[in-house]
């Protein structure tokens, strides 16, 4: 069997899909000294990489009293134990007792820190949620303000348009009234002139008519 490429080998190493069947690659690695050496090296490295624990961050602003309290408690406990066993010749007993006590103190401190971490974690989640809510509220308020402003602006524009239209309508009306008035005055003048002319004709007619003889 041909050597697998390093890419194929690493894919197989991490249990992912490979172009060749996994069993085939496994038997090649078992038989091929070079490939086995490569995989063994990766396996050892991988095991060591797993030694890196997931560290928990301790914030710079974390109140110190918790740690100091743990340290002080440990110090006092050590003092009591040393005092108690000061004259004892059984050094192993003293060491064992100290070890147990230290373990207990450390366990208690660990527990406290773990609770503290959980509490802070919950706080952060709550803060983020509150922040998001506040942002939303702020966004809604801004939206409402913008809407009100736009509405006012639209109303003002409508009013201005109406006023202009009304003014134009009034001016047109006035012009029509003036034209009508002039027309009526012309008709009246013509009528007066007609009446006078008729009157004169009647008068002429009356004057020229011969009087009947008796």
């Amino acid at each position: 069997m041909k050597h697998p490429t390093p890419e194929e080998l690493v894919s197989w190493f991490y249990g992912e899909k490979t172009t060749r069947p996994s069993r085939e690659l496994q038997s090649h690695v078992d038989e091929c000294v070079a490939c086995r050496a490569q995989v063994d090296t990766w396996r050892a490295t991988s095991r060591i990489l797993n030694d890196l624990p997931a560290p928990v961050a301790r914030r710079r602003w974390t109140p110190v009293p918790l740690q100091w309290a743990a340290a002080a408690a440990l110090f006092v406990a050590l003092g009591i134990l040393v005092d108690r066993f000061a004259f004892s010749t059984d050094e192993a007993k003293l060491r064992a007792a100290l070890h147990v006590d230290m373990q207990q103190q450390l366990a208690a401190a660990r527990e406290e820190m773990s609770q503290e971490f959980q509490r802070r974690h919950d706080d952060v989640v709550a803060q983020v949620a509150a922040l998001a809510e506040a942002k939303i509220a702020l966004g809604s308020q801004k939206l409402a303000e913008d809407f009100g402003l736009a509405l006012q602006q639209a109303r003002a524009e409508d009013r201005a348009t109406c006023l202009t239209a009304l003014r134009e309508l009034g001016a047109k009306h006035d012009a029509e009234v003036a034209t009508l008035k002039r027309g009526i005055e012309t008709v009246v003048a013509l009528a007066d002139y007609g009446f006078e002319a008729t009157e004169q004709r009647f008068a002429q007619l009356a004057a020229s008519t011969p009087t009947p003889t008796e």
Partner: protein, 199 residues
């Protein structure tokens, strides 16, 4: 209050955040992803304090960019990308300032390893030293290799998914993983001999 959201997928939760600015759905996403993102940042930067700040920054950025989220894509890819970009920015800043993430012990950087503390004090010291060695080795390999190791080895993403996050072909991801493992093998060689099982 979050119980109705327990069963929804990340994508559904993010959709609610995008469309309705749903704070509960967002809180749910934070709860689910805070751990993985913090682990990624710690391993990329080697500094637990910075990692914690960046984790918070990553979620703030997710909320700020919620309208950019495409429901066709996975939420995790969207989030990993944001977190990784923040890590890259931070690493650039560190480089500009001439600082080194390798400086200081884990304790000075404010890290503690209570989670790994199950043995006695002596064994704990040994475990701490090994962890410090691994941390330094990770920080010594170039970023493109480091990110692949973190996502594949520690976070369990498939090579295909890593390709999507980094926007590179799957074959390139595998090549980088091979190179990363080889470099780490060289750097961690002193520990390999200690690690051999005793008969």
């Amino acid at each position: 209050m979050l119980s109705p959201l327990l069963t929804i997928t990340d994508e559904q939760a993010m959709w609610r955040v995008k469309m309705d600015d749903d704070p509960q759905a967002f809180a749910r996403l934070v709860e689910r992803w805070q751990g993985p993102i913090q682990r990624l940042c710690i391993k990329m930067l080697g500094d637990a304090h910075r990692a914690e700040d960046l984790t918070q920054e990553a979620f703030a950025r997710v909320f700020a960019r919620r309208k950019d989220y495409e429901p066709a894509g996975r939420f995790s890819t969207f989030l990993w990308r944001i977190a990784l970009n923040l890590c890259y920015d931070e690493l650039r800043k560190i480089k500009r300032r001439g600082e080194s993430s390798l400086e200081g012990s884990a304790d000075e950087r404010g890290e503690t390893d209570f989670m790994a503390d199950t043995a006695g004090p002596d064994l704990q010291v040994v475990a701490d030293e090994r962890a410090e060695h691994v941390r330094r080795a990770l920080l010594q390999i170039p970023e493109p290799y480091r990110v692949v190791v973190v996502l594949r080895h520690y976070e369990g993403l498939k090579f295909r998914e890593i390709g999507e996050v980094l926007d590179i072909p799957e074959g390139t991801v595998k090549s980088r993983m091979v190179e990363a493992l080889n470099q780490l093998s060289r750097l961690l060689k002193p520990l390999v001999s200690d690690d051999r099982p005793t008969l």
